[in-house]
Amino acid sequence: MLEVKNLSMRFGGLLAVDQVSVDVKEREIVSIIGPNGAGKTTVFNCLSGFYKPSGGQILFEGKEIQGKPDYKISRMGMVRTFQHVRLFGNMTVVENLLVAQHRHVNTNLIAGLLKTPDYRRREKQSLERARYWLDRVGLLEVANREAGNLAYGQQRRLEIARCMVTEPKLLMLDEPAAGLNPAETKELDYLIVSLKEDYNVSVLLIEHDMSLVMGISDRINVISQGRPLASGTPEEVRQNDDVIKAYLGEA
């Protein structure tokens, strides 16, 4: 589904990402791990179109997407979350989910002013989808509260729900467990697995919480200082000497 070949990203003299390759198949959870500053988020930024990679190839469902604008990549079905929660803080929880469905609603101004049947039907559908996902992540009670006033754990879940209402094929989560307590991390664990099992979404995950990564990943890629260090199943990675030295040993 997603194939990244020899991705490089250079900022002036700094080679932040050097020849990294990742691939994600249908219904697979793949993790990227590595010490702080290894270039994980830079890889994400290249994949989602925020940066234009300096080298390499990114194929999503067989189509080259490197250098495409971010919103087009998102519309193809690759949606990401952010390391620091980025919600529309002054808008309500439902509105956050409605904005995300921009692709599914009738954006024609005239149709909206006249409330054509098609416009009404699509608005209703998007509201329905928002309701479903709010229920799914347990935020139905706070649907009309401002997103910025939610507790941190709720904000994290809302961010995932906001990605899911766009009906993505590949979900990219950047440290979704950061700042969550153990119970919330456990919930997140179930949620991510359920996204794969019940909604056929592939997941690309950046995470520092080792129990989460080892528990749910099908495969793991390790990068260190921008370079790929190892890749394989959680078992293989856990036993790789380089990885232990560079990452697990230090932690």
Binding site: D70, S74, L98, G112
Partner: protein, 423 residues
């Protein structure tokens, strides 16, 4: 406490003196070509010093005074009440609004010509502020050159009527659309800019339009402006005493009533009212539509909006275009009301006033913006007696407002969206 307070109070008193003495206590007297300074009357000087003493005493005992003042809010019997349920409130609001609009329809027949004229101006500012509210309040794009689109609307009508004999009704959509086109054109270069940079570029754009109008003498008449702009007609009926254009009839003769100069003023007021209501309703719909949500999303977090598939280009351009469209509307009405326009009417101060209306009213809040437009336009008129200190009073009101209600008169409220219990 004491030492600190005394220091602070002294400082405030000195500032009061420094500011008010040169303004009030010294007079410039022109004697032929010579200008010299003269002290003001003893009474003024004494008042200035008294004011300083009052400031000193107030600052010295400020904590005490403010604590005593706390009971005022308890005097309001409504302050402790629970807020009304959402739906009831929405219903009440729409009834009150309908009532106000109906009142506004009949009001001009009972008041003086001057107040109707002023009310027309208020309505023009309401249109401008509602339009700018889209750009600044909803989309979060600080636009300091908004008056440019107003000018485009006004000059389009003026030029079309002068060179091609267009009537108000033909020029209205053309003026608005041309202003919208200018909005689109300005939108392209500023797509990547945010905040301060955007403000500076839009400021420049506003000035470019004004200077262009000022210097393109062949076409626009430069600083002399364009006069003789026709008034709107009602189904071919003119409101003047004599018919200016062939084929038209005159209003008072057709209806068989005596000629009155008020007819014209009231008719213009009604046109402005209808256009302002239309503007308000259309923008209100936009706010509840995908495009409105996209504007707000872009204001809240541009990166997140893009990551969800919103095109920055489309969202920003639509905000600029729609905002400019309504400014063009207002401009056409303005040109028709004045009958004469010149670049003088489209200076930066106008942009600043419209922006002040939006900020005072509460960014994004339509009712707040309408209230602020009324206040900002009428207050200076009421304060005509203090004409020398009008801007001073205006500035003071602004500062006090920002201290006590930085969120604006009536901050924007989120729309409550009812979700079905079971789908």
């Amino acid at each position: 406490m004491a030492a600190n307070n005394i220091k602070h109070a002294l400082f405030c008193a000195v500032i009061t003196l420094v500011i008010s003495y040169p303004i009030l206590g010294l007079n410039l007297v022109a004697d032929g070509a010579v200008v010299y300074l003269e002290g003001a009357t003893t009474f003024t000087v004494v008042s200035v010093f008294l004011a300083a003493v009052v400031v000193f005493l107030f600052q010295l005992f400020r904590d005490d005074i403010m604590a005593r003042l706390g009971f005022i809010s308890r005097l309001n019997p409504l302050s402790g009440r629970d807020p009304m349920p959402q739906q009831k409130r929405a219903k009440l609001e729409s009834w009150v609004l309908t009532g106000i609009i109906v009142l506004a329809l009949f009001w001009p027949f009972f008041v003086s010509r001057g107040s109707v004229d002023l009310a027309t101006l208020v309505l023009i500012y309401i249109m401008l502020a509602l339009g700018l509210n889209v750009v600044v309040g909803l989309a979060g794009l600080l636009d300091l050159g908004y008056v440019a689109f107003y000018a485009v609307g006004a000059y389009t009508f003026a030029l079309l009527s002068q060179y091609a004999g267009f009537s108000f009704w033909m020029a209205l959509p053309i003026g608005a659309c041309l202003a919208a086109l200018f909005g689109l054109v300005l939108g392209f270069p500023v797509l990547r800019l945010r905040g301060d940079y955007l403000a500076i570029v839009t400021l420049g754009f506003g000035e470019i339009i004004r200077i262009l109008l000022n210097n393109w003498t062949n076409l626009t008449g430069g600083p002399n402006g364009i006069g003789g702009i026709p008034e709107p007609t009602l189904f071919g009926m003119e409101f003047g005493r004599r018919i200016k254009e062939e084929g038209n009839t005159s209003f008072h003769e057709t209806l068989g009533i005596a000629y009155a100069s008020e007819h014209k003023v009231i008719f213009l007021y009604l046109i402005a009212l209808v256009l302002a209501v239309i503007t308000g309703l259309i923008i209100r719909r936009f706010m509840r539509m995908p495009v409105g949500r996209a504007w707000e999303a872009l204001r809240e977090d541009e990166i997140a909006a893009r990551s969800l598939g919103l095109s920055r280009t489309a969202v920003k351009l639509s905000a600029f275009t729609i905002g400019a469209f309504f400014a063009g509307f207002a401009g056409t009405v303005f040109a028709s009301k004045q009958g004469f326009i010149s670049p003088e009417s489209f200076v930066f101060l106008e942009s600043a006033i419209v922006l002040a209306i939006v900020v005072l009213g509460g960014m994004g809040s339509q009712i707040g913006v309408i209230l602020a437009a009324i206040a900002v336009t009428i207050l200076p008129e009421l304060a005509r007696e203090f004409s020398d200190y009008r801007m001073l009073v205006f500035g003071a009101a602004m500062v006090l407002m920002m201290v006590w209600r930085p969120q604006g008169l009536l901050p924007m409220r989120r729309i409550h969206i009812e979700l079905g219990k079971q789908g």
